[in-house]
Symmetry: C2
Subunit: 409 residues, 2 copies
C-alpha cells in the first residue's frame, strides 16, 4: 500500500483581522490560557478549575442555576445536548424561526421525534411576542426554543416578554444565545429562561469547541426523569429514571451533570485545554464588566453601521432589532460580492462574511465581536472596504466612511 508521505510545515497561520459573523480573533489572554500544561481530570486542581468555570459562567449568564457547565463540542453541541435531553418522541415544541439558526433548531429537534411547530418570520425581522402567545395557546408545547441573535439575519430577538409568556403558560423556554452572548444583554433568571447554550467563538472572544450551558432547576427536574447510568460504572444500588432513556450518550445531560457534580461520575474526559480557554473568556468578560463589554460592542457596531451608511451603502434588516455585534449590508449593484471579500482577505488580511439561503449573494455580514469590537478594527475595515469598492467601481461616497465612524467614537 502506498500512502502519501507528508509532514507539512510548522503551523504558521497568517495575521487576519476577522470581521465576519464569527469565529473571530481570540483575546491574546485566551491563547495564553490554551498553552497551559495539562493536569489529570480528577486532580483536585482540575475539579477546582471546573467549579470555578461554573461560578464564572453563572455570572456571565446572570443566573443562580447550580447546573451551569460546559459541553465539550462546538456551539451546536450545546444546542443538541439541550434538545435531545428534554425532547422525547411526540413532545410538542414551538420554534420561532427568524433566520438560518432557527432552521437549525428545527433540524436538531426533528431528530428527537418531537412534533415541531414553527413561526416563520421574514428574514430581517424579529418575532412578535403576541404571535408567540397565540401559538402557545394553540399548540400547548412542552418547550419553546428560539435563537437570541441570529447572525444569518443580524437580528436580535427580544426575550424578556417571551419569558413571561412561557412562565404564564408553564412552557419550558430554551434559547441558543451563541452569537449574542457577551455582546448583547442576556439575563437568564430575570427572563425566566430554563436553558441557554452558547459558544466561545463570537463575543466571548475564544476559539470554537466549547459550549457553555445553563439549566434551570425545573429543566433539570424534567431531564433527571430520564437518568440512566452506564453499566460499566454503575453502583448496584442505583435506580434508573422512570422515563425513556435519552437517545444520545454524549449529550445525556443528567450524566454530564453527575460528571460535573459532587459525584464526579466518569463520563467523557473533560477537554482540559478548551476548559482553560472557556474559563479565561469568562474572566475577561467579567473583569472588564458585562455592562462595559456590551457597551463596547454597541459602540463598535454603531460606528461600523454609521461608516457603511456614510459610504452610501444600505443596511439590511430592521435596525431597531439589530444585534450590537454584526451588521448586514447590501452588496452594491454590479459588484461581485465574493471578489470583494477575496480582495479584502488577500490584500488587507481582513475577513468579512458572506450569507446563507435567501440572502446569499445579496448581503455581506460584518462583525465587531469580542477582541475585535474596538476602534482600530472598525476603522481599518471601513478604510479597506472603501478602497476595494472603489477599485470595483461601486457607486460610493469616498472619504466619508472612516470619518463618520471616527466621529462616533
Amino acid at each position: 500500500m502506498t500512502i502519501n508521505n507528508a509532514l507539512f510545515e510548522t503551523l504558521n497561520p497568517p495575521q487576519r483581522l476577522l470581521m465576519g459573523p464569527g469565529p473571530i480573533n481570540a483575546y491574546p489572554r485566551v491563547h495564553q490560557a490554551l498553552s497551559n500544561q495539562l493536569i489529570g481530570q480528577y486532580d483536585p486542581v482540575m475539579t477546582e478549575y471546573m467549579r470555578q468555570t461554573q461560578v464564572l459562567y453563572r455570572q456571565v449568564f446572570h443566573t443562580q442555576n447550580p447546573e451551569t457547565l460546559l459541553i465539550d463540542g462546538t456551539a451546536r453541541a450545546g444546542i443538541e445536548a439541550v434538545l435531545v435531553s428534554i425532547l422525547q418522541p411526540g413532545d410538542k415544541v414551538l420554534i420561532p424561526v427568524i433566520g438560518r439558526f432557527g432552521h437549525l433548531l428545527c433540524e436538531i429537534a426533528q431528530r428527537t421525534g418531537a412534533e415541531i411547530t414553527t413561526i416563520d418570520v421574514e428574514w430581517g425581522k424579529v418575532c412578535d411576542p403576541q404571535q408567540i402567545e397565540d401559538a402557545i395557546k394553540q399548540v400547548k408545547p412542552k418547550l419553546l426554543a428560539t435563537v437570541q441573535g441570529d447572525t444569518s439575519t443580524t437580528m436580535n430577538q427580544p426575550l424578556a416578554e417571551i419569558g413571561e409568556i412561557c412562565q404564564r403558560h408553564d412552557v419550558l423556554f430554551y434559547c441558543d444565545a451563541t452569537a449574542s452572548v457577551a455582546g448583547n444583554e442576556l439575563l437568564v433568571d430575570d427572563w425566566h429562561l430554563d436553558a441557554v447554550s452558547v459558544g466561545l467563538q463570537k463575543c466571548l472572544g475564544g476559539p470554537s469547541g466549547s459550549a457553555p450551558l445553563t439549566l434551570s432547576p425545573k429543566f433539570v427536574e424534567q431531564i433527571n426523569r430520564r437518568k440512566h447510568i452506564e453499566k460499566g460504572i454503575r453502583d448496584p444500588h442505583h435506580t434508573d429514571g422512570i422515563e425513556a432513556m435519552i437517545q444520545s450518550n454524549y449529550f445525556d445531560l443528567p450524566m454530564i451533570l453527575d460528571y460535573w457534580g459532587e459525584e464526579r461520575l466518569n463520563h467523557h474526559t473533560e477537554a482540559t485545554s478548551m476548559l482553560y480557554a472557556a474559563r479565561e473568556c469568562a474572566r475577561l468578560f467579567l473583569e472588564e464588566g458585562p455592562a462595559k463589554v456590551i457597551a463596547r460592542h454597541k459602540q463598535a457596531g454603531d460606528a461600523m453601521a454609521a461608516g457603511l451608511q456614510a459610504m452610501g451603502l444600505r443596511l439590511f434588516g430592521d435596525q431597531d432589532y439589530k444585534m450590537n455585534n454584526v451588521v448586514g449590508v447590501y452588496i452594491p449593484d454590479l459588484v461581485d460580492g465574493e471578489k470583494v471579500r477575496q480582495e479584502l482577505l488577500t490584500r488587507f488580511g481582513i475577513e468579512i462574511g458572506t450569507s446563507f439561503g435567501p440572502l446569499k449573494g445579496r448581503i455581506w455580514r460584518i462583525g465587531t465581536m469580542g477582541y475585535n469590537a474596538r476602534q482600530e478594527a472598525v476603522l481599518h475595515t471601513l478604510a479597506a472596504l472603501e478602497a476595494v469598492l472603489f477599485k470595483h467601481r461601486a457607486q460610493i461616497q469616498l472619504g466619508t466612511a472612516v470619518a463618520a465612524a471616527m466621529e462616533y467614537y
Copy 2:
C-alpha cells in the same frame, strides 16, 4: 438577585507527571500549536490545514480512506458519530466486551435502537477470534464493534484475524482505538477495518477534545443512504437519501463529510485550536516514525512492568495481550490504594490511575504514554511509588525496582 462575584486567579496549573491511563502530559509542541492565532473557517489557509490534517491522519491510521477527519468532541464523540450514523433501529450489532469501554460501546449503540449481542470476556483477557466467528454465524450482525486497547483492563485486542472474519462474512468492522493508537500497531486497511475512531489524550500526546476518525468507502456508501441536508443551507436540486435520517445532527457523518469535502457545506464551526493540536500530534508521531514511537511505548511499558515486578508487586491480566502503554498492578494487601495515589500526587506530583467496576480498589493502572513514554518518567514513578509503599508498610523489595527498569533501557 445576588450572584457570587468572583474572578479567580490567572491559570497556574501545577507541574504534574501524568502516569495514569490518560489524559497525560501533552508534548510541548502541542501546547505551542494550541497557542496559534485563529483564522476564519473558510479561509484558504484553514481549509488547507484541514486537508493536511486529513493527509496526516491517513498516515497515522495506515489507510487510504479519503474520509479521514476530526470530530469536534472528546474520543467518546467519535464513537457516537460512528455508531449513530451507521445503526438504525433493529440493526444487529455484535460487541465483544473485554472491559469498561466495551460496555460503553453497548451503551451508545443501545440508544440507536440497534439489537445488541455481546461476547462477555473475563476482565484481564481478550476475545478469541473463533468465538467471534461463531457469534457472527449465529447473529449475522450488520456491524462488529470492538475496542482495541481497553485501559480499564490494560488488554489489547488483536484485530487482524477479526478483520478477516468480518471481511469473509460481509460484516462492517468498527474499532475504538482511543487508548491504543500511536502506542500499539494499528493497520486500518490491512486489517479490513471499516471505521476507526480515536482521541488525542493518550499516546498521541495531546489534550482531550478532538476525535480523529477514518471511514472505509464501504462504510461511507452505507451512511450516505441516510444523507439529508439542512433546510437553512440546502440547494433546491438536492435529493435526500433513501434511508431514515440519522438521529443526531451533530454526529451526522454524511453532513460532516460534506463540511470537510470539496463542497465545504456549513455544519459546525470547526474547533480551530483543537485542529491545530490534532495536526501537531500527528506530525510528532509521523516525524519520529510510527515504528519508533510504538517501540518507545513498548520499551517504557516493559521497563515499568519489570520495575513493578522487581518490587514484588503482581501484575494484572494476561501479559501476552497487555497494551504497551498501560499496566495494571495489584494493590498490595493491607495498603489503602487511594491514600497511596494521593500521596504520590501531593508529595511527588505524580498521578497514577485508579480502576472501574470489578477492579475498583483492587488494582492501580500506570500509564507510559506519548510524551511520558520515556525513561525519566518511568524511573521517577518507580522511585516515588517505592518510597510511598515503604511508608505505608507494604511488603515490597526495596531498592530493586528502579535498577530493574534501568537495566531494561
